[in-house]
Amino acid sequence: MLADFEQMMRLAAEESERRDHRYLGTEHALLGLLCTSNARAVSVLRSRGLTVEAVEAELGRLEEEGVVPRRDGGRELLRSLGIDIDEVLARLDRSFGRAAVDEATCRVTRRPLWRRGRRDLAPLAKPVLVKRALELAERHAQTAGREQATIDDVLVGILRLTSASAPPPTASET
């Protein structure tokens, strides 16, 4: 993917971190997208009133309602056993690198036997819930004949994912 895509994901991760959320979701990607570049997708969103401020306000409201899961659970529970997960993470970062730790967490939580809802039990790193949207973005780019997904494709991916729980494949996809 392209440089502005990487910037978008970095901003999304920062946003999730800043808000102390325990996952990286499409809402963070959307914020990252809105802060990134001058992609066509961004101007479309802005013209419809979907600004950074608007998304942040909505996220704040969802946080207050308790809809958005904050980081918790595993972290405190492990601390109760004398395990400082932040210290563990710092050491693993030094030894393996953050990317490898994130990937291992993804791999573990994607196993079929890993029960739904147990994602918070891998407190080392955040589950990247936005991944499916990125896959859809890549697919959209491919059908449009682009080798790499752009920010515009990412927006399409997010919309496809969120507009229906199971988006029906379009004719162009099959």
Binding site: G73, G74, E76, L77, L78, R79, S80, L81, I83, I85, V88, L92, F96, A100, V101, A104, T105, R107, V108, R111, R118, L121, A122, P123, L124, A125
Partner: protein, 78 residues
Amino acid sequence: MVTLARDATGRDPADGLAAVAALGGLLEVLEALHVERARRSGWSWEAIAQKLGVSRQAVHQKHGDLDKRKQRLGKRGR
């Protein structure tokens, strides 16, 4: 938070079990990291299984997707 911390090693099974599950999650990620590093360093599944104290089949079943992932990434890199 303080209450939760105290309770997890306390008597309430709900908190105790949740703490065990969290520990299990941490263990799985640690295992995944080390198995991947071992494979990258050329360790056989047999050798990894022996160190982990499980059967070769068990470790391969759990981490066998590593090899597939490596092939996929390798292809993309070329």
